[in-house]
């Protein structure tokens, strides 16, 4: 059960990161906090895996990054969603909705049988 949840999470990590960044540029820790809060503390993500994901998104050109000073006057790397990232997010959301709808339907069907 726990494995399943983790896999689901990993697979959707990119989606979640992109989604988080739609509001404003954020640094890595901020993203992890936002995901935790947004999901109602359901997704306790492996925080470390966030950084490879961010590199990947950057490489694909979906986010960019720059070093800025935080409110507390510390240096941090802020990530910004690019237009391509935004387009990608839309695409992924559509995919997600499609598949989750399908899965839900299947689950309801099975429930109906039993």
């Amino acid at each position: 059960m726990s494995i399943l949840r983790s896999e689901l999470l990993r697979g959707t990590l990119d989606l979640l990161v992109l989604k988080t960044l739609t509001l404003e540029p954020m640094h890595g820790w901020g993203i992890s906090q936002r995901i935790r809060q947004m999901s109602g503390e359901v997704f306790e993500i492996n925080q470390g895996s966030l950084y490879p994901a961010l590199r990947r998104l950057q490489r694909k050109g979906w986010v960019t990054s720059e070093w800025r000073t935080t409110d507390h006057n510390r240096r941090a790397r802020y990530y910004t969603l690019t237009p391509a990232g935004r387009a990608q997010l839309g695409e992924e959301e559509r995919q997600w909705t499609l598949s989750s709808t399908a899965v839900n339907r299947l689950l309801e069907l099975r429930l109906a049988r039993t």
């Binding site: 697979g11 925080q47 490489r59 050109g61 391509a84």
Partner: protein
Amino acid sequence: MDPFVDRRESAPGAPAGADVTMSWLRGVLQKTRETFSRRRVDEELDEEIQFHLEREVERLIAKGMDSEAARSLANRTFGGVGRVKERAREEYGFRLLDQAVRDVRHAARGLRRSPSFAIAAVLTLGLGIGATTAIYSIVDAVVLEPLPYPESDRLVRIFQQNSPTNRWSISVADFQAVEAQQKVFESVAALRGGTATLTGSGRPERISALFATSEWFRTIGVEPTEGRGFLPGEDRPGAERVVVLSDAFRERAFGPGAAVLGQTITLDGHPHVIVGVLPPGRGSLAGYPADVWPILQLHPPTRRGPFFLRGFGRLLPEASFEDARTDLDAVSERIFPIWAAGFSDENARLTPVLLRDVIVGDVGGALFLLLGAVAGVLLIGIANVANLLLARAGGRTREMALRASLGATRTRLVRQLLAENLLLAALGGAAGVAIAFIGLETLVATSPGLPRLEEVSLDPGVLGFAAAVTLTTGLLFGLAPLLHGVSRDVAVGLRAAGRTATAGVRWRRVRSALVTAEFALALPLLIGASLLLGSFLRLRHVDPGYDPHDLISAQLSLPASDYAGAVETMRFWNEALRRIEAIPGVASAGISTALPPDNSGDTNNFDLLDKPVASGASQHVVPWSWISPGYLRTLQVPLLEGRLLDERDRGTPAVVVVSRSWADRYYPDEEVLGKQLYAGGDTGTPMTVIGVVGDVKLTGLSSSDDPAVYEPFAQAGFRTVNLLVRARGSASGILRQVGAGIESLDAELPLANVETMTERLSTAVSGPRYWTTLLGVFAGVGLLLAAIGIYGVLSYHVTRQTRDIGIRITLGADPAAVRRLVLRQGMSRAALGIGIGLVGSLLLTRLLENLLFGVSPTDPLTFATVTLVLTAVALGSCFVPARRATRVDPIRTLNAE
């Protein structure tokens, strides 16, 4: 299995619109930037992670944790920092390079884990690659590379030739006619001689000297870098004598870089003015080593012969080789009538031969054969390493399966195996270059006069060859284990590993095929080596026709300046022989223009009075020695009929002694004594045969037929001769006294090439010894590798089948039957290989024909013996594993499962 990886490798969504393109471009830019600033990127990542952890700790403390607990929890939720960095790094632009480094490091670790395997493989490959590279560098320098002269493909030698197999030097008449009449050469030149006596500075010394006509340096394309070459007209009699030095001789005689131009040296009694020095590294030209190049001054001829000049020509750029043939043919036609009185061989033509073909000769074939042989050894080595790798891969199926299930992708595993194989090949290649370096030195140092050896080196071309061989090797032996190691169905691997894998059958076949191939390669190698060994041994036991013990030979040369005519020379030789024979330790002494067993001196044409050749046809040509009366006695050549030459024979009446082969060839069933002949195209006074002696080898130990004529030395007055002295006791004891005897006559005369006859005989077989040793060593290595190969495969099989064998024995199988089964498994492969090898040998040994003596390339005895030996080796190699199989303890084996 690993969504991270899968997603990464799926194609990104198609970019739509300019914005998308822009950001994609930005991505590429960033990637490139990161590639070039790896350290900075690493530092930034560190800082970012640091920041993350600090914020997390702050958050947790704010929630009421104490700092220690907060730090620990933060670290835990983050996951391993090292692993995260690793994964993040994989996302960078320098992913490939990074991974390659990691793969190689991993491969090195893998090899270190099994050092004996690594050492065996690296040594095997190193030997194969090294030997192949060394031989290739010789083939490259001797055969493949053009001669080291500008536009060397335009250089030709000019010979006299009257049949496809009989060619000889040209005469002054020939050369001067060619010089005057030819239309196809930019320039022509002639060379004479090989040595000269240098006097005037301390002890007289024989040095190598090639007398050359004016156009020589222009023809060969190498001009002196200091001073000048020869001027037109300097090669006419009466002109001042000039000489060009080699740089090495200048250094030896005058000191490095000494100013020598304008100085005079005395060669053969004549002062020569030094006009030039050749560039360093030009110790030999056109295959002739020379300390000095004196001018050759030719007098107008009085007859067609004698033929003692080496003719050279440089073709005009627009002239073809065929043009040269036609042109020289025309010259031959024109001059024939002029000298027809003394030279009536209409078949003899001035004939061009490419200089390259003259220099390389038949060595090319032997060298390519050797290259083939080492390539064979290399292939056997590769097969062995491939087998080792297969065995290893078999043992590692479990490791691979485990790693695959832990998330390593298939490409990753394949890459890693490839990295291992290439690393192995690279190590083998490095060892190979080292071995080639040492091997090449040895090959060059021990070579029996291979041409162009001074050009042999491990140059970039050769190293490129070694690298190509290495890479091919790595890929060759890497392929099979690659396919094997990454089984498509990982689960099968996991379950089956350690036991007889189901997929193993196919690979067993591959390995069996490799063993078969090894034996198929080893057999021709062994047969070739045995044939060469056989002919070498036969050659060593050839009867030279005389007693070589207690015999010394030396070369003597009288300068023309002091000994102008035949009278002076003869007076000197007679006196010298008298003094030498007076030495207490000397039994007898003689002189001759020839020196057995491989210096026939001159050849001469002759016509038999009672069996004259048709008008215009070529006369008979045989080796012709001018000898002193004591010569045949000193050699102890048996007298068969008539009498030997003695003091009475001074030219009138003209008499000769002939060899038994001569008598058998021209008078098979007739009386020879008293028969008469005209020699050298002369038709005046015939010569009479007064004796027949035993055959003496004059043209090499491998000659099958030795017709020879011995004429009294008396009237000829040769200035360069070979001195033969038979000692009463040890040959070396009298050497100094002989030298002193000569010196007492003329202090300016050095003895050259002083050798005992046993040394000469040993030198005469140095060529065959060289080829035999080389091929023998390669064949031996090949045999050893093949034996190791079959042993390894069988041992592996037995280990693999321990369980099956255990069950059989438990069920009551006879150990002997088990042994037979294993033996059969091994021997069937070896036998197939030997069969294929036999067919290959039949086809290949024909290439050896020129190197063989007294043994046919398909000698049945050699074929049978070698086949038996190889079979015995195969049996021996199979026997150990077979015995081990019968010792399998069934209980322990089954318990071990």
